[in-house]
Amino acid sequence: MENLTVGAAAEWIRSVILLILGNELLTDVVMKFVGLGACIGVILTAAIVLTYAERKVCAFMQVRLGPNRVGGRFGLLQPIADMLKLMSKEDIIPDGCDRIVWALSPMLLFVPSALIYGLFPFDEGVVFADVNVGVFLLLAISSQSVLPFLMGGYASNSKYAFIGGMRTVAQMLSYEAPMVFSLLGVVMITGSMRMTDIVAAQAENVWFVLLQPIAFIIFIISATAETNRTPFDLVEDESEIVAGPFAEYSGMRWALFFLAEYANLLSISILTTTFFLGGWHGPFLPGVFWFWMKVLFMVFVFMWFRWTFPRTRIDQMLSFSWKVLLPLALVNMMFTGIGVYVWRSMM
């Protein structure tokens, strides 16, 4: 069983490289690149698997069949076909756009989405960078994704895109706050910002979803808003502003937005699993199985939201964040503080 885990695989790869290079330091450098490759690999695989999953889940909820032509009865090759289509599309550059800013936007959006994968603990000891301010760094990086949306919206020379870009700023800034405060409860209980410590604390006691149910709900809601998914997908909002900042992009540039969207979807699922659902811990099976089972369950939950809820309006969404979620998160933090204090003094 031990040999099945990712950690064991990494050990094996390391031993092979060490055998070839024969130098400890060089091997460590190479191993970093291997880890980087693994992170990128996770994102790309996720994009392929999740596009297919989204289409099938959506079809399931909408009493349809979903992809069923390319690659057999279940349309298993549909993501490949989609990818080929996107790659072979014409790269349309709108007239009057700010060329450099416009071209940078999709690339920059992908950076923060991919960067935070370095912080995720996938299994016991399987984490690219186990930083002691993990939670803080994570929030700092993920909040950078506001700017590329604004850049894309601003540079496209289109009113729809511009409205979408403006909405992004309002939305992401207002949901950042409750998200941070909901995570603070977890950090207060653990007493550490290191992601692996948070998971370990849940293994010792109980999953934080039981200790922090309100924070869990606030986190899920604000995470949905952060990733621009229904009911908070006001940024792309196809029925009002067509596709918002993405409206003027085509082909591979659009695909990068798409890739970032699915990378974000997976990362919020991983975050929920790490902070509230006990990370890789679980009985009998190796950690990596538990981890991905929980993550995929959360992915399904987010897809479930998307295909059953209508979209909120911009004013409702903002007032919900500032008037409901934020006070609730603060109250939750206060009670957590009292609880932690009482618990510590009792011990």
Binding site: M61, Q62, V63, R64, K159, Y160, I163, T230, P231, D233, L234, D237, E238, S239, E240, I241, V242, W307, T308, F309, P310, R311, T312, R313, I314, D315, Q316
Partner: protein, 365 residues
């Protein structure tokens, strides 16, 4: 100096939620709408003129293309006008069949309304559900006339062919199914907090404003005026059936939605009564091969799905109408768009288009 400016946003004619080729010029201050100006004519096909260049009987299929989501009601309206002009007495069985198919088509059209409103508010699943159930009605029409969209079933003097026992049986089965799927919509749409908050209190319109815009159909009933031609005029065999005119209270989008939602039940009630009382007899009156109505003019109105559907026909005694004018409810209801959008947000404008429920085929004619 940094100041703010208003700007114009052209929504449509290529836009996912303008129901075809409607173009709305929104004057915006940030997200707030200052004015909304509908610009029409992108789907103009000159149907009135086409009707004038064909004989009366040849004109019927053109009316299919007016409001292509409820073609039966258009056929019904036009045929009634021609019959009134030519003095044709329609057999009772034909009238019953007409009412059955017209009301079934009303249900189908309201299902499209629910679905398109849902998808405009971002709930695409709701739309798929309504279209799934609309399919049953289309299958019924397929049985009765072989077409799914442009039926050309109601003809001058009666209907194209008699209904089969299979149709009656399947229609009963469909009526059984109506409360089931309506309950499903209740779960996925009506009971949803977000859905409610997107519609309640939005695009409010008083009785007076609605009247001054000459709005009809569900749009005026939502403001609380029980104006339904089926009751007011009592044309065809409608007075024989027991049904209520559904009205709203506040004239907001929520009422507009609910009026149509509940009208589905009323229409189902009418269909059931009509099926129960379907008399035997001919399904077509004796209509001369070449129809030459006497000189004169007629204005005949029926309750279309979207409001008062009127046909004004002037005859000069020849085989073709001298002048045809169609009072299209979608077009007239559109006049209220500015009042429904002004002062609300961009997101509400989409809900407002949907709540008026315009069909561009009918708006542009």
């Amino acid at each position: 100096m940094a100041g703010t400016e208003t700007y114009t946003l052209n929504m449509g004619p290529q836009h996912p939620s303008t129901h075809g080729v409607l173009r709305v010029q929104l004057e915006l201050d940030g997200e707030n709408i200052l004015s909304a100006k509908p610009i029409m004519g992108y789907l103009h096909r000159g149907i009135e003129k086409l009707l004038e260049s064909r004989t009366y009987v040849q004109g019927v299929p053109y009316t299919d293309r007016l409001d292509y989501v409820s073609s039966m009601n258009n056929n019904f309206g036009f045929c009634r006008a021609v019959e009134e002009l030519a003095g044709i007495e329609v057999p009772e069985r034909a009238e019953y069949i007409r009412v059955i198919v017209a009301e079934l088509n009303r249900i189908a059209s309201h299902l499209v309304f629910i679905g398109s409103l849902a998808i405009d508010l971002g709930a695409s699943t709701g739309m798929l559900y309504t279209f799934r159930d609309r399919e049953e009605i289309l299958d019924l029409f397929n049985l009765v006339c072989g077409a799914r969209m442009t039926f050309h079933y109601i003809r001058v003097g009666g209907v194209n062919r008699d209904v089969q026992p299979e149709f009656i049986e399947k229609t009963y089965k469909f009526l059984e199914h109506v409360p089931v799927f309506m309950e499903e919509y209740k779960k996925i749409l009506l009971g949803n907090e977000i859905f409610m908050s997107r519609l309640k209190g939005i695009s409010k319109m008083s009785k007076e404003t609605a009247l001054s815009h000459n709005m009809t159909g569900p749009n005026i009933r939502a403001t609380g005026i029980p104006y339904d031609i089926r009751k007011v005029d009592g044309y065809s065999v409608y007075p024989r059936f027991d049904f209520n005119v559904v009205t709203g209270k506040n004239g907001d989008n929520w009422d507009r939605f609910n009026v149509r939602y509940n009208e589905i039940f009323e229409s189902a009630k009418i269909v059931r009564q009509a099926l129960d009382g379907l008399p035997e007899g001919p399904f077509m009156a004796k209509v001369p091969k070449v129809l030459r109505p006497p000189k004169g003019e007629v204005f005949s109105r029926t309750e279309g799905t979207r409001g008062e559907l009127g046909f004004y026909i002037v005859s000069d005694g020849s085989t073709k109408p001298y002048r045809v004018h169609i009072r299209r409810p979608s077009f007239v209801n559109m006049q209220g768009l500015n009042d429904m959008c002004r002062g609300y947000l961009i997101g509400d404008s989409v809900a407002a288009f949907s709540a008026i429920d315009p069909l561009m085929g009918e708006v542009d004619c």
